[in-house]
Structures are given as C-alpha cells and as structure tokens.
Symmetry: C2
Subunit: 143 residues, 2 copies
C-alpha cells in the first residue's frame, strides 16, 4: 500500500510545500518519552536540510530540546493530501547572527526586550531524512 | 510568558477545535527515538479522552505503535493561533465492532477487501493530559 514516486518529483513538491506553508509542526520527545507537537511559524529554510524557528527561551519546548535534540518537522497541505516529514536534530542558538537572522517586525510582541532579550532563542533544525506523500504515493529519502 | 486561561474555557474551545478539524496530527516515536508526525483524517472522538483513527495495518505507523504506544494527537487552527495537544497512548484494534464503527463510504479505496480486509486497522487513542493554547495564553490539564 505504499507505491513509490520519483525522488526528484518528491523533492520538488516538498520544496513547494515548504515555501507555501505558513506553519510547520515541530515534534519533540518529552521527559516521559511521549512525543509532543507544537505549531511553529515557518520562517526560514535552506532547501530541505535546515529549518529555522524562533521561540521563547523559557518555553517547555526549549527545555525538552536541551534534554533531547531528536526532533521532526512536518508540513501539511490537507486539501491536496500532501505532507512532508523531516527527521533530524535541533539546536538552541542565542548568538547575535542567528538572532538577527530570524528577527521580524512584530517579534517584540513575544520578546519585549528586543533582539537581545534573554527570552529570545533561535532553533536550527537539521534534517537527516524525509518522507513525502501525495495521496496514496509516498517516498522516503536521505537529505 | 505562559499566562493562564480558565480551564473550563480551554476545554470548551478545545472541543470546538476538535469538532471542526478535518485532520489531526498523530505523533509517534520511531525505533531510533525520533518523534514522527503524520496527518490523519479526524473521524471520531469521545470528548477529549478518546480519539479514533483508521489506517493500514501494513503501515510504518502501526509498526511503530506496536513497539511504542506512547503517542500524541494535535489539532491546530493556524488562522486563529489555536492549538490542542492531547498526550497519551494508542491501541491497534481489529475487532468487528471497532472496524464497523470507523468504516465510511470511500474506505474501500484504502482497504479494497472491505471491512474485514486484514490491512484495515482501527487506532484508539486515549489521552491522559492536554495542553490548549490561544495566542499567548495556554493551559495544561489532566483528562
């Protein structure tokens, strides 16, 4: 029940899905070994290899990631029955360059002290493999 | 950065979100300890305690669940910045009653042999706790 599709088609459709997605779902593993999911604003990516997010340093998500960097990022187009899962690891960054890179107008709503707010962290996810599906077809590929 | 909301409001908004969601994201943990996410059709639920899905017995998701039943189910309304995560465990069922319960017109596309197709399984997720957020407010509650 898992017919294949061509890898180059899957990569192209995956990139298009990432480009048009407003949000991405970040999957983490909590201290009890349960998966957790949270919708994140889809801000920036480098192909399918790296996905960047920003979040509050004080959030439960950051605490989980510091304990266990194994994560996944999921993009979905429910209307077209398309989905992309990227699986890999994630880092919590607070260097100036990364913070400036992700800063957007309106970020001060979440980080009142601005780009140097200690509660402002950047997440850099790096994928090792992915799975893309469209309808009943899907393919798993290294990244 | 995590102001509270009233639990009864959160429960009511959570139920409304579940009711109007076409899909739900199912979080599992793979054999390497990475979280995995897959969009599922949102078919049936009992309050916030139990969520039912159907899937192919031969799918990677079923193999993962049989190894590790720790799962989560996530509903999101990206436009309104609302999201509900339910965390708990999931069972794979193939009894007649469960299969009949989840069978819908069109299911034969996925399970050509019909309601007794060996590749047709039902998933019953049972939540132990949840987290609901709306904008910058969120609340965690037992279920």
């Amino acid at each position: 029940m898992e017919p294949n599709m061509e890898k180059d088609v899957a990569i192209a459709e995956s990139l298009a899905l990432v480009e048009r997605s407003i949000i991405a779902m970040l999957g983490t593993v909590d201290g009890n070994g349960h998966p957790n999911i949270k919708a994140m604003m889809n801000m920036e990516h480098e192909g399918l290899k790296v996905v960047w997010f920003s979040t509050n340093t004080s959030s439960k998500r950051v605490a989980q990631i510091l304990q266990n960097p194994k994560t996944c990022v999921y993009f979905v187009d429910a209307d077209q029955f398309k989905g992309l899962m990227l699986v890999g690891t994630i880092e919590v960054l607070q260097d100036d360059k990364s913070r400036q890179r992700l800063w957007r107008p309106g970020c001060e709503k979440y980080y009142p002290l601005g780009v140097t707010d200690p509660d402002y962290s950047v997440l850099r996810f790096t994928a090792s493999w992915g799975n893309y599906y469209h309808g009943l077809s899907n393919i798993t590929f290294d990244i």
